[in-house]
Structure formats: structure tokens, C-alpha cells
Amino acid sequence: MKEDTLRKLRILAESAKYDVSCSSSGTVRRNAKGGVGNTVGGVGICHSFAEDGRCISLLKVMLTNYCIYDCAYCVNRRSNDIPRATLSVSELVELTLEFYKRNYIEGLFLSSGVVRNPDYTMERLVRVAKDLRTVCRFNGYIHLKSIPGASRELVNEAGLYADRMSVNIEIPDETSLKFLAPEKDHESVYRPMRYIQQGALESAEERKKHRHAPRFVPAGQSTQMIVGAAGESDRDILSLSSALYARPTMRRVYYSGYVAVNTYDPRLPVLKQPPLVRENRLYQADWLMRFYQFRVEEIVDAAHPDLDLEIDPKLAWALRHPEQFPVDVNRADYEQILRVPGIGVKSARMIVCSRRFGRLTGYDLKKMGCVMKRAQYFITCGELEAKGVNELHPEGVRALLTQPGGRRKQPDGQLSFVFKEETV
């Protein structure tokens, strides 16, 4: 039996790994008497890190990788000749608990290929979550995929057991989606998203009246977009993300650089490497929208529909708006300091707290964790000023910050002697 489980786990983990989300954040739940597990909240706990650098927090697995759909970008599409497997509900429940008790994982991330019809598949996902919660009294994290096209009743039931639910948009542009996945449309994605949102809002309303009313997806919902499989621009992607974040329960949008899994399909681009730099820039832009009070139009606009791959989006914005700088760190508002390249949320807060005690110097900023290599061109702190972005011009700063091996370079105007190294 174990040999067979091993084979199934390998197949189903390999099928599930292209889903990016793995976070265990957003819920705080203590263990109950007779139960197993808790959820710590905060940023969650990553128990391990795979060799591709991604964290392993949850047991990310599919219930089955059989699928009736034939989406061009998906490794599990019907027409692919790959090994297929199905885990039984009890097998998966046992596996989750045994892994959890050994502190391998924080909980379960469960997804599935669509078999027979969406409702049949969704029902099986819900059964796993229900068994874990009610029979095994599992209080760890559960992330459930909502199957596009599943009925409202099933989504509502799933929400009672899951901490987070997600439906993947995958392709931000609907015509491209229909081209690559003829059996899907955006409506089939947005409908379950609305169900989740309505369920969560109703539950929040209910809990105002009764403190013990059940929680409904307390960690909200997330979604994912594939980057580089269709011809969408970064502006399309980020505008959609921004619209999604405006919805009450949307917590995270993930970006997944397209890994060429189905190279034979002529509808897909031929990529040697997944677009990793672009994916990274999109995440940086995402962070700017969520934590740095940037609006999407400030990051990408009609003139700059794509993010600069060479420099990060915050620096790119700063170089487009030299009139906003220099920022005086000893006087400026928190919001302004937050916009300085090289200063993050943590250092900006420290600056605002510390300057009440005395004037801050460049040395202090460095010690607080500001990246002075970038920040130096955009701030003043009452010291002998170095040349800023307005004196050097944006192009000059850009050149200074993008030159290869910049760390080793001697500052201009410094006397330097060249000694030949003698080898003994």
C-alpha cells in the first residue's frame, strides 16, 4: 500500500507544483482540546524550501490529475500523455495528519483536475477538508481550490472548513484565455470568486451579532496569473491585480512565469527559460501597490506599458519623477519617505520614530537598513550633500546604478594606486 501511495504522491505533487501559492498566513487559530494543530497567523511558517527557491509550507497536492479540460498552458491537460493517479479521501487525510505531526507541513493545499463535472470534483475536495476538520479535529491550515463552475452550495460548504480559497484567473485577457482554453471563460472564474466574497462578507456580518458564528475563509482568497503564455502586457496584468485588490476579500495575486510544459502546442510561445526577471518585477510592483501606497497608473501607464527589467519599478518611478526629490528624511511625511528607492516599510517606520529624538545622519540610515547605494541620490539629511538625482539627471543615476560590478568600482575623483599583486 505504501509503495502505491509513494507513486501517487510523486505524480500528484508534480502535477500540483505549477500552482504558486503556498502561504499559510492570514488566520490565527489556537488548538482545541482533543484536536491537533494550530495556525499562527503573521506571515505563516515555511517548513522547508525546495531547490528552486520556493518555500514549502503546505502539502501541495492534487486529489487527481485526470482532467476533462484541455487548456494549452496546463501540464495536466487531457491530451498530455503523463502518468495519472487519484488519491482516495482517506489516504490524503492520513498523509496530511502524519506529515503534520512530524512538523513537515503547516497544512494542506488541495487542488484537483476536473473529473466528470465541476460539482463532482468540488464535492470530493470538500470531503477531504470536512473529514480533516470534523473527524480528525485538525486545526492546521487548509487552502482549497474552488473548481470553476462549481455550485454555490458547495463553495459555501467549503468555506466553512478552509482557511483560504482560490480560483485561478491564469490568463488576464479573456480572448487569449478562450484561445488557449476553449472550454473556459472569465465568468466561470469570477463566479466562484463572488461566491467566496459573499460568503465571507455574510459571515463577518453574522459574527458581529453572534460571536461564535462560524468563520468563512478567514484568510480570504487568492488567485494566480500566468505570465508570458499569452501576449499580455504588464499593464494588463497589474491593472487587473489592482482591480482585484479593491475587492474586499482578495488578499494575494500570484504571478507565475510560464514554464514551457507543452512545447508542442503551436499556440504557445517558445521559451528557453521561464520569464523569471519579469515575474520578479511584477511581484515588486505588486508589493508597491499593497504596502507602498502606489497606484497602478503610477507604476505602468500607456507610455510605459511594461516594467523595466533592468531596474526595479520603484526606482523606475523615481527616475521618471525627479521633481519629487530630494526627500528630507528629517522632515518629510512617512508617505514621501516610503517612496524613496532603497528605503522599505521597516526602515521608513524606523526613520519616522527615531527622528523625534534627534537629527538623523546618513550613517544612522545605513544602520537602520536603508540601501544607501540607491537611496543616496534621492534624500537629504542635513549633511554635506552628495549629488542627487536632479544634479546627475535621471539618466546619470540610472547608468550609475546599472553598471556591471558597480560594487567594486572606486568612487570618481578618488586617488587610487594600483599595486601589482605578487604571488609567492
Binding site: K2, T5, L6, L9, R10, A13, E14, A16, K17, Y18, R30, N31, K33, G34, G35, V36, G37, N38, V40, I45, C46, H47, S48, F49, A50, E51, D52, G53, R54, C55, I56, L59, K60, V61, L95, E98, F99, K101, R102, N103, Y104, G257, V259, A260, Q273, P274, L276, M350, C353, S354, R356, F357, G358, L360, D364, K367, M368
Partner: protein, 265 residues
């Protein structure tokens, strides 16, 4: 011309606060603090601080009026770092806090505040790492056993987390470097130590042999290793980030980084 004074204390929270109390009573402020195990200086006077509950309590009450609970937790939490370099910054932080009008805890430009805050952040990071990287093995008598060797003495800080999470199980987490552990069974965790010739010290990397393990243990370890390999996307290999997030010094005790056992025992 006053002499230079060294304070010798036991590196506990109580000891530290007593040292502060003594300094104010004696009107002598030390140039350095040392622990019991440190080499005493040749040409300096040494004052031996005897940790005293009442003296420490008075200082702590005064501190409570000056600092937030979070800042106090930060100060006392720093002691888990067991860092001799932090003795003096901690001492000065307490003195400055007592003398200041308002709270100094957010003055990150102050080198002592910064040293203490940064160290506490490191302690918390190590605590998180232990919450991440503890790997239990189920033994034949259904106790879950794990061996760790954290950089800082954070084991007491993670015990409440595991006591809540696995409240129905028996477990033992053992810090090999500091040679003590916590054993949890039936709603209470107790600190345990072993004789120096105990079998626990003969486990080279904390791995139990087959005879000591639960029947299903090796199978689950193999399942976990398989999962660990399968979840990696080979087109995206990133060994540098892998080593950054999962430093090599922790690999020794990680199940997924152990080679498969070939039928022994």
C-alpha cells in the same frame, strides 16, 4: 581618579536588573560586564552582582513605567542570544531608559537601542527557524522526537508553540549543543537533561535507528523526501536562494536532506 569597575553577573534578566540597581546604589558604573565563565581582567576592580529578586523587582517596576511591554520583552528576550558583546549595551539601555523623560525604545539612532533591537530580531528569527525546521520522528512508544542545534538558546521560546500545536501527543525536543531538552506529555512540558553517557548523545545526527522507530516512520520519511523532490520545478533551479532560505548548517537534522536508509537494523 576612580578605579575602573567590572561587574560580574550571571547573565540572567534578574542579574542584569540587580546590576543596574547596584550601580545606582554604589554610584559606580561599570566599564564592562562579564559572566561567570569569562576571564577576569587583571587591573580592575570586580563587583560580584548577586541576583536579588527584590532589587530586580524595583528596577523592573521602574522600567515598566518607562517602556512598553514589547520593549521589555525585547530586552529580556535578548538574553537568549547568549552574546557577551551585548552585556554592556543592555546595561546602558536600561540606565538610559530609567533616566529619560519619555520612552527611548524607538530611538533607533541610539547605538545601544539598535544593538538590542537588532539582537532581539535575530533571536526571533532563530525562534522562527526552529518552528520551521524541527522534524519529529515517531518512536516505537509513540513519542515524537526531534534533535536541534540552534544558534541561540531559543528552545524555551518554541515550547509553548509546540505545546499548543501537539497538545495530545508526547514529544521531546532536544538541544544537542546545550545538552538539554523539553519533554511534553499530558499538558505540561518539563525541562530534561541526560547523563553524559546516555544513548541520546550517540545519535550522530539525531536520526533514530529502525529498531527505535515506529513501524511506519521510515515509510513516512521516504514519502516526505519524495514529495520534497517532486515539488521542485527543475526549470527554475535556484541553489543560491535555496541555501539562503535553508542554510546548510540546519541540513543535518532535516529529514528531507537525509539520504534514503538502505535496509539496516
Amino acid at each position: 581618579m576612580g578605579e575602573e569597575w567590572f561587574f560580574l553577573y550571571d547573565r540572567t534578566w534578574e542579574g542584569l536588573l540587580t546590576a543596574v540597581f547596584d550601580a545606582y546604589v554604589r554610584r559606580q558604573f561599570p566599564v564592562a560586564l562579564i559572566g561567570e565563565a569569562d576571564t577576569p581582567p587583571l587591573f580592575a576592580e570586580i563587583h560580584r552582582v548577586v541576583a536579588d529578586e527584590e532589587k530586580a523587582g524595583r528596577v523592573e517596576r521602574a522600567l515598566r513605567g518607562k517602556l512598553s511591554g514589547a520593549a521589555l520583552a525585547c530586552l529580556s528576550g535578548c538574553l537568549y542570544a547568549e552574546s557577551p558583546a551585548l552585556d554592556l549595551p543592555l546595561f546602558r539601555y536600561v540606565c538610559k531608559a530609567l533616566e529619560a523623560k519619555g520612552s527611548i525604545e524607538t530611538n533607533y539612532a541610539d547605538p545601544d537601542v539598535r544593538a538590542v533591537t537588532d539582537t532581539y530580531r535575530k533571536v526571533l528569527r532563530e525562534r522562527l527557524r526552529m518552528m520551521q525546521f524541527v522534524r519529529f520522528q515517531k518512536t516505537a512508544d509513540s513519542t515524537y522526537f526531534s534533535m536541534i542545534a540552534p544558534d541561540y538558546d531559543v528552545l524555551p521560546l518554541i515550547v509553548p508553540h509546540f505545546a499548543d500545536r501537539f497538545s495530545e501527543e508526547c514529544w521531546l525536543i532536544f538541544d544537542r549543543r546545550r545538552r538539554y531538552g523539553f519533554y511534553y506529555a499530558g499538558h505540561r512540558a518539563v525541562r530534561v537533561t541526560f547523563e553524559s553517557d546516555a544513548g541520546i548523545f550517540r545519535l550522530p545526527d539525531g536520526r533514530l535507528c529502525d529498531a527505535m522507530c515506529d513501524a511506519g516512520e521510515q515509510a513516512y520519511q521516504e514519502l516526505w523526501r519524495t514529495y520534497f523532490k517532486a515539488i521542485c520545478i527543475r526549470e527554475r533551479l535556484n541553489p543560491r536562494k535555496h541555501r539562503k532560505d535553508l542554510p546548510v548548517r540546519y541540513w543535518k537534522y532535516l529529514t528531507e536532506k537525509q539520504p534514503k536508509r538502505s535496509g539496516e537494523g
